[in-house]
Symmetry: C2
């Protein structure tokens, strides 16, 4: 019986899934142990639980807590294989995808779930100055910048004091200012966590600077933060942020980002550390399809999630957009997961010669965490909550959604630990970043190599 | 009273400690809240618990579990300040140290604890081909290489099979071979953990290759592994390694390392992944002292740990060597910690005008872990144990020595999890390493950009 199954496998249709995020992974799992051969292709060897990524960036969690090897997640499905590779092009006519070094892979069905990345709206030069938060590497870079800013300010302060010079107050102030461009959930979460770091975690560990004097600014172009949520919750979130000491600026479009600060119209804000949480665009892979894309580079799909004229190609998650009177679906994990399962189901229906179903998103709500004991959540049927109850709901829902029992236990423990002690277990500056930080620090002081006596 | 203490602080002697490893940190803690001003300088913002670093390299633990911010460790001592900086030179006459970007710092006392780094015995070209394990970055690089080797082998296998070509058996075999140069504790621990990864963690997750066929080789130049331990334990360790399937080669001096393999005399072993656990030399900073160093670049010190002719300078840990009839002390954490405390005590004695004490190392023993349920330990008075009891002792001693209560709990949990499930929580390939791995994989196949159909 096992031999028969092996033999018949060669003739089974080959499904290629590009992307192991929420959409691709749920499609792969839904096709697991079905009569298809599945190849799951991703540049990374791990599925990333993006909703908790900001906690890696703000030193509460370690990378291993929010990521799980794809190979391990799908290991029990013998018909699913994992390929660590970057896809560079898709040939719809030839039913072929091209991998980074030129190899090609043929498919009978394609599920395209390559996701999104930061969009700088034509200002790509801002990217190194204001990194965004999409990958584990991004999170470690943000963590490094946050911690290094305090270290650099401290060092400037101590050196000036040791040598009897005037402490360069303006530079210190710019080093202790953090600007977050974008007031969506990621921006809010980063701002809230940054406040805790400055007010509690680092307080009392420095002798030159006072980390509690850090200034944290959230800049949102729209009229309110969390613009995708009900207005009442936006205002509750804004109030909660202000209570934490965060400066919330709405109607604030950033017009320039430089090494020394950001411009908002005529105003210039001196700030050394800027993060980008403002825009998401579809992965550039979509462009290789040769079909018209929407403004954000997303692929318009039919109501059954297939590409018009290509019933063998599904596009899901942040990469796709369904033209609806209500506008595109939000870029949420829940949307991608439901689309992944629906694409898998439609694919199997096609194989069986049954009509495909129209995809219908079941709204499970949306939420954002602000700080300890503080969150906002909008559930279906107009249920809106804020405060400690929303916060607890956020914690439990995210723990529940996390893949891997070990991850759940470790994350729960680290949350409990952070909550009780205000401490953060992953406060590490890694990579060969120190000499760079030092150079930048020397530059910031705007004076030649000096001499400090103690 | 507090004001008086503040005022008198300016006149207190300034102690500069270079290095926040076991030696420097214990010196700083011993000087905490004493009548001296202490500046602890390190390139990293964290103290690293090196004995568990191999577990980060082999995906059991996350970087945050084995590292703790220096600033946090010394936070309760108001007289200890932390400086994130790289020291490039020491001027003994001017009592000054120079930092990477040219700034200088004056000291009244100096405790030099800059530690060691890998020594390639004149073969520095081997370093990129055979990385060692000293820093968190090293550990992540080793983890990446281990996991990528399996991924590359799998991909070659699947692509050849899909396109109906012959699977390149020799290349696959070289990719699934891992050579560890050096049979000391680090080499043994890496080899044991690698076996577990291949035999259990990854087994059953690949469809082209069988990870259990991985070949793991330990090469030791001396006549036995763990040459610093009693011969009986060396032989027990060797037997335990062989039982795990590790190839142990003693009397094996590696004469060349290339991208395709290593040479041991006349013999060439095709191997794509090589790690260096063979030699440690003192940090190059020692050379700037302008005093004669020993063969490994270490600084000879007086019996009271001071530098000859410079009673204000202490050199401790892996950077120092005391000329003794019994030879230099081993490069153990215990030695560095005891020396750190002794240097601090002698420094305070000098301040008080009391004679300094001769340093005497209290041997607490040495141990090495081989695999689950298997370790060897040599305690004072000839007590030697091996097997499960030694393993349990290893676990508890290392947990106990780990700094930070949270780290202890997290590490214990992850050990329990790994033990029960054979799973490893930190199996992540990070950094922009994939395209590099892919290129290498294309090169390994030795053919131009091919075409694979599925």
């Amino acid at each position: 019986m096992a031999v028969m199954a092996e033999n018949s496998r060669e003739t089974q249709p080959h499904v290629v899934i590009i992307g192991g995020g929420f959409g691709g992974l749920h499609a792969a799992q839904s096709l697991g142990s079905k009569a298809v051969r599945v190849t799951l292709v991703d540049r990374r060897n791990h599925h990333l639980f993006q909703p908790l990524l900001y906690q890696v960036a703000t030193a509460t969690l370690s990378p291993g807590d929010v990521a799980e090897p794809l190979r391990q997640i799908v290991r029990r499905h013998r018909n699913v294989r994992t390929l660590l590779a970057e896809v560079t092009a898709i040939d719809l006519e030839g039913k072929t995808i091209t991998l980074a070094e030129g190899d090609q892979l043929q498919y009978d069905y394609l599920i395209l779930a390559a996701g999104g990345r930061h969009a700088y709206f034509g200002h790509d030069a801002w990217e190194p100055l204001a990194p965004g938060l999409k990958t584990l590497e991004d999170a470690l870079e943000i963590r490094r910048r946050i911690l290094s800013a305090f270290e650099r300010a401290e060092r400037l302060c101590l050196e000036a004091r040791d040598s009897g010079e005037q402490v360069p107050g303006d530079v210190i102030k710019a080093l202790l200012t953090f600007a977050i461009i974008g007031g969506g959930p990621t921006g809010i979460e980063l701002a809230g966590a940054l406040t805790e770091i400055a007010q509690h975690t680092l307080a009392g560990e420095f002798q030159g600077i006072d980390p509690r004097q850090a200034r944290i600014i959230v800049l949102e172009g729209e009229s309110r933060v969390l613009p995708a949520m009900p207005a009442k919750l936006s205002h509750k979130a804004e109030t909660a942020l202000k209570r934490l000491g965060v400066e919330v600026r709405t109607h604030s479009l950033v017009t320039d980002v430089t090494e020394d600060g950001i411009s908002v119209g005529e105003e210039f804000i001196p700030v050394k550390t800027v993060f980008w949480a403002a825009g998401v665009a579809a992965a550039p892979l979509a462009r290789t399809l040769g079909v018209p894309l929407d403004r954000a580079g997303r692929v318009p799909v039919e109501p059954d999630l297939t590409l018009a004229g290509h019933p063998e190609v599904y596009v899901i998650g942040d990469l796709s957009t369904e033209s609806k009177p209500t506008g595109p679906l939000p870029g949420l994990a829940a949307v991608a997961m439901q689309e992944g399962r629906a694409a898998a189901e439609n694919l199997l229906r096609s194989e069986q010669g049954i009509a495909r179903l129209r995809f219908r998103y079941r709204d499970r709500g949306a939420m954002a965490i602000i700080g300890r004991g503080s969150a906002v959540a909008a559930f279906p049927h107009g249920v809106q909550i804020a405060g400690p109850v929303a916060w607890l709901a956020w914690l439990f829902i995210h723990l529940y959604m996390l893949i891997g029992f070990e991850n759940r236990v470790l994350v729960l423990m680290q949350w409990a630990w952070s909550y009780l002690t205000w401490n953060r277990g992953a406060r590490l500056i890694t990579e060969t970043s120190i000499s760079e930080a030092i150079e930048a620090s020397a530059r910031a002081r705007g004076r030649p190599r000096g001499r400090t006596s103690a």
